[in-house]
Point group: C2
Chain length 613, copies 2
C-alpha cells in the first residue's frame, strides 16, 4: 500500500439519527423489495463502510492528491493503491448495495445507500468517482438497454470487472449539450461508427479494470440539430467478444488528461473516438434519438451523487476542524485575554471558533437530512408504485423538486464551509499537513459539473416549480406548513418555528413574484434571481428539517441522565436547529425583499461598460 | 527567463478614476512633502508599473505556483525568474516610490503607492511578498531604529540589496503573540544572544539577495510574560561587518519550508535562531520591552498590504473572467434557448454570467475605493500634521478605523469572488490552464495571516469603535450622513442613496446594541457578532463609496457622445453602484436584525454536544 494516513472522520451517530429516527428507515425496510433489510443490517453496513473508508480509502486521499494521474503509453495510470482499493470495494459489495437482486445486488433502500456514498465520497472524493460513474453507466444500461446489452455490458460493470463513464461534453459545448458534434454512422451490421472528441470525461481512462464502457452522446448522420437529435451509444474501450471476452482496441484514444485544482486522483480525460475510423458503438436499447432522455436518467442520479459528494467532504471537514479545535491550545479564554498568566485554552473555547464549528455542524446535519429525505422519497415512491399511485406520485414529485436543491445547495455550502474549516485551523489549515485545504480544492468542482448551480436554479424555477401544475411545490409547502402548525407553540422551539413560518411565506411570495415576471413581460429578471431563489428554498428546507430533528431529539432525550452521551447528542441537535433558525432563516425573508426590488442592472449594463480594456 | 505567459490583466481606467476623480490626487500632490508629484507623474508611474507587471511579474505567476520553493543545502531556492525580477523591481525604483527622500526614495503619496502595490501583488502575489515584507521591515527600522541601525540595516533593504522579514509566530503561538518563548540574553557588548524557533515566516529565507534582515520578537530573560515583555531585535541572516560587508552566518537556520494550498512561490519558512548559541541580535532603537508597539507599526502597514493583495487578485480575476466571457461562445441567447438553430452567443450574454461579473466589478471598484480612501487619509494626515492638528487627527482616525475593514473585508470577498471567477469559466476555470484557480488558492491565506478576520473584527468592535471616545466612528458616520443628505433626492440615485441611509441606521443601531451588551452583562455575545458587524460596516463603506463614484461619474459623463468609450466607463460606474445598493446594502439591515436576536447558541452549546466522537 501507499503508506498514507487516514484523515477521514465522521460521526456515525448522526447518520443513524437521520436514517432511523428522522426518516424512519423501519417504515421502508422489511417491506416489498426491501424485505431483506432492517435496522440491524443497515447499522452493520454503515459500520462496515466506515471501517473500509477509514482503513482503505481515507489513507489514499492525500496520496491521490499528491501523485495525481499520469498518461503512460497512451493509458491513464491512477495513483498508488487505487487499483487495490477498487478491487476491495467491489469484493465487499459496497457498490451493489442498492442494486436489485435481478442484477446481482443486495437491493437495499436508497436512503441507506446515500449514507454509504457520503462515507465513501467523504473519505476519498477522487477515488469514489471511478466506481460512482461506472455504476451510473451500468444502471443506465440496465434501465434502457436491451437484455443482451444488460448482460454483455451492464453486469461486468456492476461487479467491478469493468469501469464505465458518461461522455457528454465536447470542446465547443460544455453546459450546452445540444451543440454536440460527435457523429454516428450506421453500419451494415446495425452497429454505428462513432467519431468525435469528448472532454472533461471523469474516469475517461484508468488502469483499475480491464475494460471501460463509455456511454457516448452522438448525432446519427442526418438527425436534427439540438438535444433532440442526439442518440446514446455504448462504446467499449476494448471490443467485447463472444462470452464477454475483451478483445482489440475499439479506437478510443486518450487525448490527454487535465491538470486541475483538485480531485487530482480522478483522471479527467480528453477522449478521441474513431480517429482511425474504427470505433464501433451500439445504440442503447436499439432506439434512435432518445439519447438525451436516456442520459437524463443517469444525470438525475449523478446530480444527487454530487450533492452527496458535497455532504461527504463537508462532514469530514467539520469533524477534522472540530478535532483540531479540541486539541490545539492557544490563547487565554476571551474573558481573561488581557491576563498573560491565565492558562492557554483549547481554541474550541474561543467564541468565533465555536461559531464557525456550530455553523458547520448545522449545515452538515441539515444537508444530510435533505439528502436522506430525497432518497427516502425515492424508496417510498418505489414501494407505492402500482400499489398506491397517488402516494407514489407524491414521493416521486418530491424527488424531482428536491434534486436541484441537493445538487446546488450542498455543492455551494460544502465549498464555502471547507474554506471555513481552513479558517478554524488558522495558518495550519493552509498547509498540506492537514486535509482541509484539499477538501476545499476538491469541493470547488461540485458547483460546476453535472450541471452548474445556475443550471440547477433554472431547473428549479423554470421546470420544477410548475411541474405537475405546481403540485410538487404545493405539497412541499404544505408539508412545511403542517410542521409549522404542529409546533408553532412548542415550548423550546416556538419562536424558531415562527421564523420558519416567516421564511416559508417569503419563499411563497418570491415564487409568486417569479410567476408574475413570467406572465408580465419581465422574463429577463428570472435568470437573475434564480440562484437566489434556489438558495432561499434550500435554506427553508434545511431549516425545517433541522427543526424537525430538534423536536424529535428533545423527545428522545427525555429521561436520559445528564451524563449520558446520548443526551449530549440530542442537545446538539437543538443547537443546530436554533442556530440555523436565528442566523440563516432570516436570510430567506431578506432574499424575498431583495428579489422584490426587481433589479435589472446585470441585464441592462452595456457590454462596453464592464471594462475599457 | 522562464517562458511563462502573462495572465495579469487590469483596467487602469478605474485606477485613474479612483485616484484622480474620486479621491482628488491633485489636492494632495504638489503640496508639502509631495511637492514633486502631480497627476502626470502618477499616471506615468501606474502605466510603467502595469507594463512591468505584465512583462515581468505576470509571466512568473504560474511558474512560481508550479515550481514552488525548494530547500537546497539549507538555503531556500526561489522559482525560476524570481531573482531577475527582484533585481529589475529594485532597479526601476518601484519599491522606494513612497519612501521619503531622506532614505533615498521618491516620496510619492501613499494613495498612489497603494495602486502600484495592487498591480504588483495582483500580477504575482507570491513574488511580491518578498519585497513587500522586506520593505515593511526596513520601514520599521527607519522609524524605530537608531541612526546607525537605519544606515546599517534599513537602507540596504530599501535598495533591494538585502531582504527582510518579520518574525512573530512560534509553534505554540499563532494569533497569540504574547505566548512567545524566543529568548534574548544580553551580551557584554550590548548585543543579545537570540534563541528560539519561529514558524510561518514569509520570505524567511531566499536566494534573491545576499543577506536578510529578520526582525524578531523575543523576550529578554527576566521580562514579564505576555506581549508587554517582548522586545524587538534586528537579527541578520549573515553578520554585517564594518562598511556593510556581509560576513559569516549568524546561526539562523532554515528548519524547513511549508507545503501550502497557494502562494507557492513564496517560501514560508521555519527558522531556528541560535541552535549553536551563536545568533546575535541588536535591540531595535536600543529600547527594551517595546517590541509589540514597534512591531505594530509594521503590522498596521502589513494589514493594509493584505487588503491590497486581496484587491490585486480580485481585480485580475475579474478581468480574466470578463475576457473569457467575451471570447467563449456557448449556448443560445436565453430568450431563444429552445431553438437549436439559433446562433451560439458569447457567454457574457447569459444573464447569470453577467450577474456574476457585475458583482465582481462592483466589489473590485468598491474595495479599490476603500483602499485608496484609507491611504489618502494617511497622506492627508501627513500633510496636516503640525499645520492643522484637528484635521490631522481626523484623517489619522479614519486610517485607524478603516484598517480592519480593508484587511478583513477585502480578504474575505477576494477569496469568495475568485471562486466565483472559476464559476464564470465553468469547468475550464477548475483547470490550471487558466489563472483563476490559482488566484482562489492564493487568496485563501489573506483572511488568516497578519491577523485573522476575527482578530480584525475584534480590533474593530473592541478597540476602533470606541477609540478617541468614539470620535473616529462618529466622524465616519457623519461623512456618510453628509453624502446621504446631499443626494437623497438625486434623480438617478435617490432610491439607492435612501437604501444607503437605511444601511447606515442599521450599522448605528448595531453599534448601540454592541455597546449595550458590553455594559449590560452580555459580553459573551460580542465576539459571536463581531465578524457580522465588520462585514456590515464594510458593506456600508463600500456602498457609500460606490454611490459617491456613481454621482461623480454621472456628472463627468455629461456632454460625452454616445460612442465615446469614456461614456461607457462612466455608465459602468452607475451599474456598479446601483447593483451594490440593491443587492448588497439590504444585507446590512438584515444583519442588524439578526444581531438583535442575540443568539447565544455558539457560546452555550456544551463541548460534548458538538459530536459523539
Amino acid at each position: 500500500m501507499s503508506g498514507g494516513i487516514n484523515r477521514y472522520k465522521n460521526d456515525l451517530r448522526d447518520l443513524f439519527f437521520v436514517l432511523f429516527e428522522q426518516f424512519r428507515f423501519a417504515e421502508v425496510a422489511g417491506k416489498g423489495q426491501y424485505e431483506a433489510w432492517g435496522p440491524d443490517e443497515a447499522r452493520a453496513v454503515l459500520n462496515e463502510t466506515y471501517r473500509f473508508a477509514r482503513e482503505v480509502l481515507g489513507p489514499l486521499n492525500a496520496v491521490g492528491d499528491k501523485e495525481g494521474c499520469k498518461v503512460v503509453d497512451g493509458q491513464v495510470k491512477t495513483p498508488s493503491g487505487f487499483k487495490d482499493a477498487w478491487k476491495q470495494l467491489h469484493e465487499s459489495g459496497f457498490k451493489t448495495l442498492a442494486l436489485s437482486a435481478e442484477h446481482g445486488g443486495q437491493g437495499a433502500p436508497l436512503m441507506l445507500y446515500a449514507l454509504t456514498e457520503e462515507i465513501l465520497s467523504g473519505a476519498n472524493t477522487a477515488f469514489n468517482m471511478y466506481p460512482g460513474l461506472a455504476y451510473g453507466a451500468a444502471e443506465l444500461v440496465a434501465e434502457c438497454g436491451t437484455p443482451e446489452q444488460v448482460k454483455k455490458y451492464g453486469e461486468p460493470v456492476f461487479t467491478g470487472k469493468w469501469g464505465g463513464t458518461m461522455c457528454l461534453t465536447e470542446p465547443q459545448a460544455g453546459s450546452d449539450v445540444g451543440a454536440n458534434k460527435t457523429s454516428a454512422r450506421k453500419n451494415a451490421d446495425g452497429t454505428y461508427s462513432i467519431k468525435g472528441t469528448k472532454i472533461f470525461i471523469s474516469g475517461g481512462d484508468h488502469d483499475l479494470a480491464e475494460n471501460i464502457i463509455h456511454l457516448v452522446l452522438a448525432r446519427i448522420e442526418g438527425a436534427q440539430p439540438g438535444t433532440k437529435g442526439l442518440s446514446l451509444f455504448i462504446v467499449p474501450k476494448h471490443r467485447v467478444g463472444a462470452g464477454g471476452s475483451v478483445g482489440a482496441s475499439n479506437d478510443v484514444s486518450v487525448g490527454g488528461i487535465e491538470h486541475k485544482m483538485g480531485i487530482n486522483g480522478s483522471a479527467t480525460a480528453v477522449l478521441n473516438f474513431g480517429e482511425n475510423d474504427a470505433c464501433v458503438g451500439e445504440l442503447v436499447g436499439g432506439v434512435e434519438h432518445q439519447g438525451i432522455q436516456q442520459m437524463f436518467r443517469m444525470m438525475n442520479g449523478a446530480r444527487i451523487a454530487v450533492g452527496i459528494q458535497g455532504l461527504g467532504v463537508l462532514a469530514t471537514a467539520y469533524q477534522n476542524a472540530l478535532e483540531y479545535a479540541k486539541d490545539r491550545k492557544q490563547g487565554a479564554h476571551y474573558t481573561k485575554w488581557k491576563d498573560p498568566s491565565s492558562p492557554r485554552v483549547a481554541i474550541l473555547e474561543h467564541p468565533d471558533v465555536r461559531r464557525m464549528l456550530l455553523e458547520m455542524k448545522a449545515y452538515t446535519e441539515g444537508i444530510r437530512a435533505l439528502v436522506v429525505k430525497l432518497t427516502s422519497h425515492e424508496d417510498r415512491a418505489k414501494l407505492h408504485r402500482g400499489v398506491d399511485d397517488e402516494q407514489a406520485a407524491y414521493h416521486h414529485g418530491q424527488v424531482e423538486l428536491l434534486t436541484p436543491l441537493v445538487k446546488a445547495f450542498s455543492s455551494e455550502e460544502a465549498f464555502r464551509l471547507c474554506a471555513q474549516a481552513i479558517q478554524v485551523f488558522g495558518g495550519a489549515g493552509y498547509l498540506k499537513d492537514h486535509p482541509v485545504e484539499q477538501y476545499s480544492r476538491d469541493a470547488k468542482i461540485f458547483s460546476i459539473y453535472e450541471g452548474t448551480t445556475h443550471i440547477q436554479a433554472m431547473d428549479l424555477v423554470g421546470r420544477k416549480l410548475g411541474q405537475a401544475g405546481g403540485v410538487h411545490f404545493q405539497q412541499f409547502m404544505s408539508d412545511v406548513a403542517a410542521f409549522v402548525e404542529g409546533n408553532r407553540e412548542h415550548a423550546t422551539f416556538g419562536a424558531d418555528v415562527q421564523r420558519l413560518a416567516a421564511a416559508q411565506e417569503a419563499v411563497m411570495a418570491s415564487a409568486m413574484t417569479l410567476l408574475g415576471w413570467s406572465q408580465g413581460g419581465k422574463m429577463h429578471l428570472i435568470p437573475l434571481a434564480a440562484n437566489r431563489f434556489l438558495k432561499m428554498m434550500s435554506e427553508l428546507a434545511v431549516g425545517w428539517l433541522l427543526l424537525e430533528a430538534g423536536v424529535l431529539a428533545e423527545k428522545s432525550a427525555q429521561g436520559l441522565s445528564a451524563s449520558d452521551p446520548e443526551r449530549a447528542f440530542y442537545e446538539g441537535k437543538r443547537y443546530s436547529a436554533q442556530w440555523f433558525s436565528r442566523n440563516v432563516l432570516p436570510e430567506v425573508e431578506h432574499g424575498a425583499r431583495v428579489l422584490a426590488l426587481e433589479d435589472p442592472s446585470a441585464s441592462e449594463i452595456p457590454d462596453a461598460a464592464f471594462a475599457t480594456v
